[in-house]
Symmetry: C2
Subunit: 424 residues, 2 copies
Amino acid sequence: MKANFLSKMGQRIAEPPISWLMHAALSRPKLISLAAGFTDSASLPVVEARAALDQMLRSPQSARSALQYGSTAGDTALRRLTARYLQRLDGVTAHDRFHSPERLLITSGSQQLLYMTTEALCDEGDVVLVEDPTYFVYLSILQSRGVRARAVRLDRDGLDLAHLEAVLQSLKSSGELRRVKLLYLVSYFQNPTGVTTGFEKKAAALKLLKKFEPAAGHPIYLLEDAAYRGLRFAGRDVPSALTVRGAADRVIYTGTFSKPFATGARVGYGILPEPVYTTVLRIKGNHDFGTANLLQQLFVRALASGSYAKHGVRLQKRYAHKARVMKQAIEKYFPAGVEWWAPEGGLYFWARLPRHIPTGVKSKVFQTALRNNVLYVPGELCYADDPARRKPNHEMRISFGNASEEDIRKGIARLGKVLKRLLL
Amino acid sequence: MKANFLSKMGQRIAEPPISWLMHAALSRPKLISLAAGFTDSASLPVVEARAALDQMLRSPQSARSALQYGSTAGDTALRRLTARYLQRLDGVTAHDRFHSPERLLITSGSQQLLYMTTEALCDEGDVVLVEDPTYFVYLSILQSRGVRARAVRLDRDGLDLAHLEAVLQSLKSSGELRRVKLLYLVSYFQNPTGVTTGFEKKAAALKLLKKFEPAAGHPIYLLEDAAYRGLRFAGRDVPSALTVRGAADRVIYTGTFSKPFATGARVGYGILPEPVYTTVLRIKGNHDFGTANLLQQLFVRALASGSYAKHGVRLQKRYAHKARVMKQAIEKYFPAGVEWWAPEGGLYFWARLPRHIPTGVKSKVFQTALRNNVLYVPGELCYADDPARRKPNHEMRISFGNASEEDIRKGIARLGKVLKRLLL
């Protein structure tokens, strides 16, 4: 595949680790996949989507506006509704200048915002700090661009601040701090661990970044990926980093309407400070000059009518139930010696075997699980290539998002059997 | 706006020329815009879109599949329907290996394919050959990436082959041929000139590119942008470059379903040879891991039911009429000394003033037109920065896409008045 006439990115870009898993799934019809990041199919808002689309297309005037090009930044009404939605979530007033439609950009899923923000800020050789482990598609973005990821330890309660400081200090000592552009943080029910980083930690992380800015010679941004924020089913919401006093101008916040509603309608958004906002807006102009207006109008109606919020509540109950089913199954079937984390939202459990038992695609655990028709995401896929530590390979991401209750029970039972056999 | 902590792209990327025009339009409510590339609002397929969406959401099973994530390459049924559609257009059998679902990638408009193809092939300092003039957003993509555009003259009947050879020869002489990655050709009713490059010319261009490949040391691709192909209203369709014998493995073909149907539903596609296909597919995985499934399913239904094709016929009649209205108005109101080209499809007329009369945004012509509430796209915005020639600045792109018949007449009358005053 490596052809020297491709661009550097073209030559660098690797097969996404997840496609191998998907191929494996396709060739085994009886396989139960606890690997996919798909959302729950049974609870997709069919009635709500139909009502919103019907309302939109019933009047010729609104139909025509939905079927025509929009603007690059996104529909004005949707940006206003999104700002209001975030104001309410974060408990700020409509006058808060960091929760403003002017700073909002509508994108094709929050993924696109991650991509464009990285384009706007990072050159080959630059450094992005990431959680250890983190969202593997973001690692692919960095890898394809030749941007180096530096891993910051993650505890059960979020980012390890002492380690963040140590990493920044070591980058300062090695003279690389000027290459550090941002800290990427999946702050709510993180993919893959389900961990949430609390408000105090986000505030402290921003303070640390600011502390190192003089040595870096430029702003170091916090890219807060809140893709799973709408999927909380236990505990209380955490305000975003945009509400940290005196630091919101260093926060790039991204969220999505797709996961808490319909992933087939890809609409995400970002809040960005200048000059990043204008830069990303221009990049978006080159990518696609605006997200499909029809999808934007769908969310305008779902948000304005309240059906988006109502569906969110229903979805939270559904995921709470599925997470409970998975928890009970894990308690019943997993052997002692497996540490696991249950989340308060999102789609993932995280399990950790004893350090000497690998879980990667070539491991005995993975292969035996596959033969027994159950699939998980090996933890090692979620770790950056960081020379500062050996890559852990004894963990697994287990999703309750798409599987039915029965498949969750069966899948965990199969996985538990494999683990018992190999651990005991 | 230039901040040194932005990436090289971030620092390079300029305000899109068109946004200034759009601002101008917004601040003048009585302005008639013959500048926008929007399609005809009055003929948007409201009934057809509603029927397709209703059909999709009526059954829970198809509804759920439309509201869930799809795959990165795009929906299998849509790729099959797209392949069949292109086979029919190009008059080849279902066995033709260059019109195959396996080579098809579904994208968020054809714009996204242009972006990703350029990412896959071009590094900073590489060279892309473009028509002179060409689609200005593609020039923005190149500019933002530090890719150099080299201009190839365009005649009334398409690409100037002798000039293409001369440009390639001169790049060979200067040792830069190894930096040449592709020839970008908007082959049907080109934006901005309305010109179509015929089949023989495309075949000859491919032959020329092949001739220079040994000296380049790698393939030189033809990126055929067929975005306007579905908007023909006179004359006969021209087969794509994919049908050129022995050269289809050098063709990257891109088209869109949006323009001939609903621009608010952004779905485009590309046909790419290996290894470009796999590379662009991986890049798409990083951009958004797949175009919104809801929109793809909309086109599956519109294509399968025949409503897409029927709407296309209706649209062609509508544009034929609007183009006739514009032609008659130009004949009536434009002074002698203005050369203009009427197209056989697409959305644009191209007009050329005597060489000494500039039409750019600061020119007397543009400013007087604006004061008289009519807007066009200055030709100079569509020319690459090429040191080999002075940038022409005496032309204008005039669109009949979005304006009503009445506005077309009035707008051309206003423009004609300005031109008469300044030319005579």
